[in-house]
């Protein structure tokens, strides 16, 4: 039986009826059409589907949409504000933190969580903080540099 859920996604409250078995990632992509969140491994390993639910980065392939009823979700589409990129997005742009781009939305969401908890991470802390996100192109070097760039940008802000 379908369940009514009310979920705030990127600042807009959406009311929908969903099957309990609908995974959050499919709710975002197929119901709301927010295809920035990617489906990678589907086994909670690769992190491509990372979004934040009430401020906590989670893998949206390992959560049912019904569990998110009443929550505030941010996806990659909601990270920039008024046309201004989030510092992590800017870092990925400036330091070329991607090649094919498939892992990028999840990588950016996880990196944003990392910087929220640790404003000035070391390179090792960045690598550790992004353990849950796999990239098969870059070898991670440019991703680490992108996050370093972002941490400096965050700390520059008044």
């Amino acid at each position: 039986m379908k369940k009514a859920v009310q979920i705030n996604v990127n600042g807009t409250t959406r009311e929908t009826e969903v099957e309990p078995r609908l995974l959050l990632v499919h709710y975002l992509r197929d119901v709301l059409g927010l295809t920035g969140t990617h489906v990678g491994c589907e086994t909670s390993l690769c992190g491509a589907c990372t979004v934040t639910v009430d401020g906590q980065a989670v893998k949206s392939c390992t959560m049912f949409a019904v569990q998110a009823d009443g929550s505030n979700i941010t996806t990659i589409e909601g990270l920039a504000h008024d046309g201004e990129l989030h510092p992590v997005q800017e870092g990925f742009w400036e330091r070329h933190g991607l090649q094919c781009g498939y892992c990028t939305p999840g990588m950016i969401m996880a990196a944003a969580q990392l910087l929220e908890r640790n404003h000035a991470p070391t390179r090792e802390e960045i690598r550790h903080g992004l353990e849950g996100n796999l990239c098969r192109c870059t070898g991670y070097q440019h991703i680490v540099e992108a996050v370093e760039y972002a941490s400096k940008a965050v700390n520059r802000e008044p």
């Binding site: 039986m1 369940k3 099957e19 309990p20 078995r21 995974l23 589907e42 086994t43 909670s44 390993l45 992190g47 990372t50 906590q56 980065a57 989670v58 893998k59 392939c61 390992t62 959560m63 049912f64 019904v66 569990q67 009823d69 996880a110 969580q113 990392l114 903080g129 353990e131 849950g132 996100n133």
Partner: protein, 288 residues
């Protein structure tokens, strides 16, 4: 990777959850953080007809000190345990073990109670819980009972919880005196699960001899176990390099070890001995 259909209930109170479970103990499952159950449902290894989500039940997520014990609500996330400053002071094994689980996203959502109730043979918490001689509080509509950590893990993915029971709280006697703790594991390079994980909590008396030792080992067998012979060899001894190595050599005595494509049974037994030695040495080194 679409789970089979199920009915979903998200009760606001534990009593409500327990009465729902009591009505359908055979085909209902409790959903905590979902990081063990949902993957199993996606593979259709688990196909519960009713999912009772206790994520909306208030007061199941806490770290408290009461009557000389640390009390942890079953829905406390790995991240909450990892980031607890107070636990770092009074029982550092818990945050250390939490930090070794999966990755940031998994730790944000996964819970200690969910992990324990799932009883994956390669999960990290069982080793820590056994070494700390924790008590697990199970509750059902019939009442509450306390299960010792040693009795809680029955077999692979099987615990002493009855079909109508929910794990509500984990109780740990706060270690006193000169205690050192460590959790050391061999991470499976893909999944992050423990190929072998050894948790040690060791207390020294005024004479420098070991007065109490707890050693829990996960990943090796179908369920986590207490390395009683290692503990026995440690208690009463001065844990120097030689004593530690000789005590640790018993880490897999009499254990029917698992073998798989990643690590053979012999290799796992070998790792248990090596990591027991390292974890004991690390625990001793941390004693002030």
């Amino acid at each position: 990777m679409i789970p089979a259909q199920f009915d979903y209930a998200a009760p606001a109170t534990l009593d409500e959850a327990l009465s729902l479970l009591a009505e359908r103990p055979d085909d209902a499952k409790i959903l905590a953080g979902g990081h063990s159950l949902i993957p199993a449902m996606k593979l259709r290894l688990a196909q519960p007809a009713l999912l009772i989500d206790i994520g909306r039940v208030k007061d199941l997520s806490y770290i408290r000190e009461e009557g000389g014990q640390i009390r942890i609500g079953a829905m406390t996330t790995h991240y909450q345990l990892e980031s607890s400053e107070r636990l770092r002071e009074i029982c550092p094994l818990l945050p250390e073990c939490a930090a070794s689980i999966g990755d940031v996203q998994v730790r944000n959502k996964g819970t200690i109670g969910g992990s324990l109730a799932h009883a994956d043979p390669a999960a990290d918490w069982p080793a820590a819980i056994i070494s700390l001689r924790a008590e697990l509080v199970a509750v059902s509509s019939r009442g509450e009972r306390v299960i010792a950590a040693d009795d809680f893990f029955v077999d692979m993915l099987t615990t002493a919880l009855r079909p109508d029971e929910v794990l509500r709280e984990i109780r740990i006697n706060a270690p006193g005196g000169r205690t050192g703790q460590a959790y050391m594991k061999v991470h499976h390079p893909a999944s992050g699960f423990a190929v072998v994980g050894v948790a040690v909590s060791l207390t020294l008396g005024a004479d420098g001899k070991c007065s109490a030792a707890g050693v829990g080992i996960t990943g090796v067998a179908t369920k986590a176990y207490r390395a009683a012979q290692v503990e026995g060899a440690l208690v009463g001894s001065t844990p120097d390099e030689q004593t530690t190595a000789s005590a640790a050599s018993h880490a897999a005595d009499g254990v029917d070890a698992n073998g798989d494509i990643y690590a053979s049974a012999d290799y796992r037994r070998h790792l248990a001995v090596v990591y027991a030695r390292r974890a004991i040495a690390e625990a001793v080194a941390k004693i002030k």
